[in-house]
């Protein structure tokens, strides 16, 4: 933009700055403030309690369980989503008659509205009517329908499976684009040197995709940690808190029990976790830029 247009820069940016500042950063301060006040359904007037809610939450067993659940949920969804996404990207990077069609189909689960995806998986995992139980029964692996989402030992795994199905196409598409950016000369000279397919992936493809992989791991971690729809529709955090993660607990405490203070306290914890993850994201991106500039 020419020098004399400098004033326009600020006019152009002002609405974005005001909205993001006023409705995203300002409320984060609000969350911290709310975490210092106690409210409940019986006593809706906020009462200043200082850090008492933090003490209460940290000493309850529930916090430990929700932090652990969030951790399990995030780690496994991110791991499988990226692993599956990378492998399918390799598969769709082959020249085959079905490749073009598959590339356009692969994003379907990701485009499917979240609540619909969750309802569909609730149905898939239904003990009586679900396709998954029918399939396992016809293979003879189980002799009666298993209520995957209703048992504390399987609910989290069932939710993770649904989230991976819904989310992996996004990783596939990103990795596919990155694979197409891999320097073909390097790949060809590796072929001439007699490198096998696996060796080419390990020594040529993976190193050149290092940065994309790192950024996507952090990005999917952030998105998964924040993921509300899937678990809320599948289990509402149950059974017995077995699938409650930070976002679902915050919603339940705030809008189910009107305990805004406690909900905000959980909110503060998740803001801290996210701030750390976001800092990691920017560090990776910056070191990537420096590495490229060399």
């Amino acid at each position: 933009m020419p020098k004399r247009g400098a004033w326009l820069v600020w006019i152009f940016m002002t609405p974005a700055i005001l909205l993001v500042g006023g409705l995203m950063y300002y409320p984060m301060i609000g969350t911290i403030v709310h975490s210092l006040y106690s409210t409940s359904f019986i006593n809706p007037h906020p009462q200043f309690v200082g850090l008492k809610l933090y003490a209460k939450i940290l000493s309850s067993g529930e916090f430990g369980q929700i932090a652990w659940n969030s951790c399990v949920w995030t780690v496994f969804v991110v791991l499988f989503q990226n692993l599956f996404g990378f492998l399918t990207a390799l598969l769709l990077n082959q020249r085959l008659p079905t490749t073009a069609l598959m590339r356009s189909l692969v994003l379907l689960p990701w485009v499917l509205p979240g609540v619909v995806g969750a309802i569909l998986w609730r149905f898939m995992e239904d003990p009586q009517l679900g396709l998954i139980n029918s399939f396992l029964m016809s293979l003879g692996l189980i002799d009666h329908g298993v209520a995957w989402l209703a048992s504390t030992s399987t609910a989290m795994a069932a939710a993770i499976a649904a989230a991976v199905w819904k989310g992996f196409p996004f990783s596939t598409v990103i990795y596919l684009a990155a694979l197409q950016n891999v320097d073909q000369e390097q790949v060809e000279s590796a072929i001439i040197d007699g490198a096998s397919r696996l060796q080419r992936i390990i020594y040529v493809v993976l190193p050149s995709m290092r940065e994309v992989i790192a950024i996507n791991l952090v990005l999917t971690t952030i998105l998964t940690f924040n993921y509300f729809d899937m678990i809320w529709v599948l289990t509402r955090g149950g059974p017995e808190n077995a699938t409650h993660i930070f976002p679902t607990k915050i919603y339940e405490l705030g809008f189910g029990e009107f305990r805004f203070g406690e909900a905000a306290t959980y909110g503060v914890f998740s803001i801290i976790v996210l701030a750390l993850l976001i800092a990691t994201y920017f560090l990776i991106q910056r070191s990537g830029m420096r590495w490229r500039a060399r």
């Binding site: 993001v20 409320p27 609000g30 379907l108 499917l112 705030g254």
Partner: protein, 281 residues
């Protein structure tokens, strides 16, 4: 031939890889296929165990029942909220993204960083203060509350996507326009915006897909049936109709069709937009 290379030949030959692709297609499509199949099963057809993939007497009954007045209300609400959000977000994001690509000062970079970072914080962590702000402004249970919230959460992504497209337009273009006597505002409106059309389309589709399925804000801000959007309405269906999955699946198909159709129509631009920022940094 050793055993290992034999396995390699079978699984990594053209035929083996095609089989793997077909298996992948099955994983992706089976749930969709089942959704459509169940939506076509008459309510009287018992749910056989093991589940039957193909409906014996397909019927559109479920669609007729699913298209009840409430559903139409939810649909209209979703449409109003989503389209308004798309229009406002793109209108605000485009000039902001342009500024970010053209004014490369430290301050502008810092602001850009803060805006991009904002989209990564969880909506659930700020939902309570925003809810109270909306309540204070008397906006709860209105389209305005949802549109304002959606513009805010989609603006950072939209700016980030558009920035990728705008950065590719050379600065010489602006300079040439300035020499020809166009003011900065006119340069933006009549030269930059038309050139950025593919980016605008990709961003608009992305914003539409995000708002069409947004759940948390819609669940918290709307309290009466006449203001519910489709995702929240669907969530209500689960409790209300218990196990009437035929109807539930029919409404699922109806909700998904618009976004899926749009996606197929504009797939190329859309994928370019999503991958531009992520791959090239």
């Amino acid at each position: 031939m050793t055993a290992r290379s034999w396995i390699g030949q079978v699984f990594l030959g053209k035929a083996g890889l095609t089989i793997l692709q077909v298996a992948l297609a099955a994983i992706i499509l089976l749930p969709f296929f089942w959704m459509v199949s169940v939506s076509l099963k008459p309510a009287s057809e018992p749910f056989a165990i093991p589940a039957r993939l193909w409906p014996q007497n397909p019927t559109l009954d479920n669609y007729v029942t699913a298209f009840r007045p409430e559903f139409r209300t939810y649909f209209v609400n979703s449409l109003i909220v989503s389209l308004s959000t798309v229009a406002i977000t793109v209108a605000l994001a485009l000039p902001a993204a342009y500024s970010f690509t053209r004014a490369q000062t430290r301050l502008v970079f810092a602001i850009m960083g803060l805006i991009v970072a904002a989209q990564m914080f969880p909506a659930s962590a700020i939902i309570i203060p925003i809810y109270k702000m909306m309540k204070g402004a008397g906006l709860l249970n209105t389209y305005a509350s949802l549109i304002i919230a959606y513009v805010t959460i989609t603006l950072p992504v939209a700016i980030w996507m558009l920035r990728g497209f705008l950065a590719r337009l050379p600065v010489e273009l602006d300079e040439a326009a300035a020499i020809d006597g166009a003011g900065p505002f006119r340069t933006f409106v009549s030269i930059i915006v038309p050139l950025c059309r593919p980016g605008i389309v990709a961003t608009a589709v992305f914003v539409l897909i995000v708002t069409w399925q947004e759940f948390l804000f819609a669940l918290s801000f709307t309290s009466t049936r006449d203001m519910r959007t489709l995702p929240v309405g669907m969530n209500d269906f689960i409790g209300q109709y218990g196990i009437r999955y035929g109807e539930l699946m029919a409404s699922s198909v109806l909700i998904s069709l618009p976004v899926i159709a749009l996606f197929f129509l504009l797939q190329r631009q859309f994928v370019a937009g999503v991958t531009a920022g992520a791959v090239k940094g």
